[in-house]
Amino acid sequence: MGELLKRYGGTLTGAFILLTGFWLLMLIILPNLALFETSFRPYLPVVDMGGPLDTYSVNNYAKFFESPGPMSIFGLELSIPLRAQTFINTVFYSIIVTVVAFVFSYPIAFYLAKVVRPKSVPTLILLLFIPLWVSEALRAFAWYIILTLNGPLNAVLVGMGVLEKAVRWQQGVLTNYDAIVIGLVYNYILFMLFPIYNAMTSLDSNQIEAAQDLGAPAWKTHLRIVLPHSKPGIASGSVMVFMLAAGSLLVPTTLGSTRSNWFTQTIQQAMLESQDWNTGAAYSFLYLLLCTVVVFGVMRLFKVRLSDIAR
Amino acid sequence: MGAGIDLDNVVCDFGSFRAVDNVNVSIKPGEFFSFLGPSGCGKTTILRMISGFNDPTSGAIRIGGAPTLGKRPNQRPTALIFQNLALFPLMTIWENIAFGLEMRGMGRAERRAKADELLALVDLQGAADKMVSQLSGGQKQRVAIARALAVEPQVMLLDEPLSALDLKLRQHMRAELRAIQKRTGVTFIYITHDQGEALAMSDRVGVMSQGRLQQVADPRDIYNNPVNGFVASFVGENNIFTGAVGATSSGMARFDTAHGQFRARLGETGGAAVKLYVRPEHTLFTTDAGVENSVPVTVQEVAFEGSFISVHATSDSGASLVAELRNDGSQLIPEAGQKGFMTFAAERASILPDGIVRAK
C-alpha cells in the first residue's frame, strides 16, 4: 500500500481503493448479504412488509423438502421431495457432463500441446474458438434443430439404417436428460479443453520421451506423466464446466422436456413465475452453497488453489 | 555543473534488518565517486536514498548543501540509471531521451532537438526513431545515460550500469562513461561490485561491507593502503600471515608468526585481532638467505600468465604463498621444485585488522 502511495500519490491511490471498494461492496458482498437476509423472510404482499408477519424463519428453506415423490437412485426406490430430486438430478447430470467433456477433450488438448506441429496451433485454436463467439442461446438452438423429430440427425440415422424410425431425442432415449447432456457438453466442452491444454503446454516434452525411453507404454505415460502434470488444468476445467452446466438455464429450457427438470428452472419458476423472491432467494442460497462445496471440494481433491482455477 | 553530496550518519533499516549502517561521506562537486562492495552490502539502498525512492531511517542527506528531507525524487537534481536501465519499451529512442523534458512541459520540436543533441553526445546519431528492442546492449546503455543527462541533473546515480554487458564492451564503456563525466562535469555516483571497474574509473572509491563504509580514498590508496583485511582482500589478492604485534617504532612494527618474524607497517588496528597482508606482486623469490622478511619455501608451481608469472610455493612451516613476478627479466623466476625464499619489503606489508569495521 505504501508502494502505491509512492508511485501514484494520494489521489490516484484513493481512486483505486474507491473503485475496488464499489465493486466488492456494492456489486458482490452486499448483494449476497441481501440474498441471505431475504431468504429468511416470508413472501408477503407489499402492505404486510415490515408488519407483524414479517419475521425471520426457515420456512422458505422448508419448501425445498415438501411434496415427496418416488425416485430410484442406483436401483434403490426412495421417496424424495420433488425439488430435492431436481437438485440431485442437476448435480448428477452436471457431473456426467463434466466427465464426458473431460474424456472427449483430453486427447484434443494433448494433440494441440504435444502432437501437432506448433505452427498450426494458432489456426486450430482460432477454429476451436468459433463456437465460443456464437452465443449460448444460439448454440443450444442449433442442437434443438438437429435433435427435432424431423431433424437432420434422425434423417441421417434412419437413412443409414442405424435407426428404424425417427426418435424423440428431447423426450429422452436412455434417460430423460439425454438432450440436455448433449447440449451442455457441446456448449461447455471448450471450457474443459483450454485449461487442460494450457496446463499441458508447460509440460516438458522430454519428460514424455524419457518415459517412453524407459519403456512405458503410451497409456502409462499418460497416467504417470501427462495426467499429473495437467492436474491444475483438469481441476480448473472441471470446476468451470460443472458450474456452467449446473448453472445453465438456457440449455435445459431449450432442449429439455417436461420430464427433465433443472434446478435453475425451479429457481426461475419461484422468482419469475410465482414472483416469490423470498423462496427464490432461499433456493439460490442453497445453490450457492452447493457451488462453494464443489469448488472447495475440487480444490481439496486436486490440491490446487483458487488462483489455479480462475484463469 | 555538478553538486556535492553529504551523507551524515545515514542509517536505513528494513524491519529489523539494517541495510545501511551509519554511513558518513562527503562527495565533491564534479567528482566520479564509486561505492564498491559485495552483493547485498547496501549499495543500491544508498543510491535509492540519494534519489529519494527510500527515506533514511535516521541521518541526513544534503545535495549541493541543501537538505533533501521530504523531497520527492522528481524534486531532486539527481538522475538515476537503473541496474536494468528501465528504458520505456513502448516509446522510441528519442521519446525515451526527451521524456524528462516532456514532463517539464517542453514543446515537441525543442524536445526533439535536445534529444538529437544528446544522441550525438553519446554517439548514437540515427537511432532516434528506433524502438528500444532494436538496440544492442551497449547502445541501450548509452540511451539510458542520454535520458538521464537530458534533465540536466547535477548528480548522476548509476547502479551497476555495465553489469549486463559483455566483458569487452564493459571495458569500452568504462572509458566512455568516464569521458562523458569529464565532458559534462556532472557528479557521478557509481555503484559496482567489480573492483576493476571502480579502481579504473573513479576519483575516489568508498568500499562497503554489510551496510558500513569501510574506507573512502582514491583508487591507489584503496589498493596500496587498505585499512583492514576486508578492503585488502576485496580489492586484490594477498599473502596472509596470522601472528602477534611485537615492538613498534614510528609506524612500523615487528610481527611474530609461526613462519618467522617480520617487519611491516602498522595500520589502525584499534585493538582488534590483526593479520599481516602482502600483495603477490610485492612478493619476490630469492635464493639469498638472511634477507629481511623472508620465508624459506619450496616452489610448487610456476604458471605463465602472459604479462606476469605467478609462482605458488609452500613454506617449510606449512604456509601457502603466491608471488606475481614481472615478465621482463628484471626478476628471478624460479622453477617448480626449486628451494629458496619468498621475501617482501617491509614498506609493502601491512598489519591490519582482520575483519571489517562493525557497528559501534
Partner: protein, 280 residues
C-alpha cells in the same frame, strides 16, 4: 502394437471429427436460414430463400433487443474495465492475507451461477428502491465480468518492470503522468483484451440478464423467448449474421496479431544482431 505413425493418423482423425462436431451444428443452423421452410431446418430442403433475412429486418422487437444488448454491453465495458483495472493494481500491491481475501471476493463471482448473481443483484437494489431493468443487468454483469478484466490486467502487471515507474518519477513525472504515460500504455493490451472480453461476455449473458431485466429484452433473452414460443428461421438468419460477423472479426484480429508479432520479432532480431556485432 500401434506404430507412432498410426497413432498420429488416429490423432489427426480425432481432431478432424472434433472440429466437425463443433462446427457442423453452426453450419446446420446457418443453412436453415436459407431454407424456404416455415420451421427452422435444413431437412427437408425446400429451396433457397432470402425471406427469413427480410423478416428479420422487419422485426422491430429484434432491433430493440439488439440495441439494448449493445447499450448494456457498452455500459458493462465502461464499468468493468476501470473496476477490474483498479482492482488488479490494488491487489498487485498487497501481499499475504489481505491479498488472498481480496482475490477470493473478486474471483468468486466468476464461479457463482449467473442466476444467483442476478437474483442477489435485484434483491439488494430493491432494498435501495431501485426498480428492475437493464441498468441492474449491467450491474449484475459487471460484478463478475470485472473479474475477467482484473485477471487479465493482473497477469500483465506481473510482467511489468516497476523500475520504469521509478525512472519516470526520477525524470520529473507527476503521479498522473506515471499512470498515463508508463503504466497504462503497458497495460493497454490487457485492458483492450479485457474490454473485448467484457463486451462479448455481456452480449452472451443470459442468466444474469433474465433475472434483472424486468420487461426489457436483450438479444439472448429475445432469442430464448422466440425458441420457446413459435420459432421461425429468422432466428437462423440472425445466427448466420452473427457467425459471419464474428468470423470476420476473428480473422482481422488474427491477421493483425501476426503482423504485430512479426514486427516485434524483427526488431528483437535487429537488437540481437547489433549486440553480436558489438562484441565482435
Amino acid at each position: 502394437m500401434m506404430t507412432d505413425k498410426m497413432r498420429k493418423v488416429l490423432y489427426h482423425l480425432y481432431m478432424g471429427s472434433f472440429l466437425f462436431y463443433l462446427l457442423v451444428p453452426l453450419v446446420i443452423m446457418s443453412g436453415a436460414a436459407f431454407n424456404n421452410n416455415k420451421t427452422p431446418s435444413v431437412y427437408p430442403w425446400k429451396g433457397f430463400s432470402w425471406q427469413w433475412f427480410i423478416e428479420l429486418w422487419n422485426d422491430g422487437t429484434m432491433w430493440t433487443s439488439f440495441g439494448n444488448t449493445i447499450w448494456v454491453a457498452l455500459a458493462v465495458v465502461a464499468l468493468a474495465v476501470p473496476l477490474g483495472t483498479a482492482g488488479a493494481i490494488l491487489i498487485n500491491s498487497v501481499t499475504g492475507m489481505t491479498r488472498s481475501v481480496l482475490y477470493f471476493f473478486m474471483v468468486a463471482p466468476i464461479l457463482a451461477p449467473g442466476a444467483v448473481i442476478g437474483i442477489s443483484t435485484i434483491l439488494f437494489w430493491n432494498k435501495l428502491s431501485v426498480p428492475v431493468g437493464l441498468h441492474l443487468s449491467v450491474l449484475g454483469q459487471v460484478s463478475y465480468i470485472a473479474a475477467f478484466v482484473m485477471l487479465l490486467v493482473l497477469a500483465r502487471l506481473q510482467s511489468f518492470d516497476q523500475n520504469l515507474e521509478e525512472a519516470a518519477l526520477d525524470l520529473g513525472a507527476t503521479h498522473n503522468q506515471v499512470l498515463r504515460r508508463i503504466l497504462l500504455p503497458h497495460l493497454y493490451p490487457a485492458i483492450g483484451a479485457g474490454a473485448a472480453i467484457a463486451f462479448f461476455q455481456s452480449i452472451e449473458n443470459f442468466n444474469v440478464t433474465l433475472f434483472t431485466r424486468g420487461t426489457q429484452n436483450t438479444l439472448t433473452v429475445y432469442v430464448f423467448s422466440k425458441v420457446r414460443s413459435g420459432i421461425t428461421p429468422s432466428i437462423n438468419a440472425l445466427a448466420f449474421m452473427l457467425i459471419a460477423l464474428t468470423l470476420i472479426a476473428a480473422l482481422v484480429y488474427e491477421l493483425r496479431r501476426r503482423r504485430q508479432a512479426a514486427l516485434e520479432a524483427a526488431r528483437e532480431e535487429e537488437g540481437r544482431r547489433a549486440s553480436d556485432a558489438e562484441i565482435a
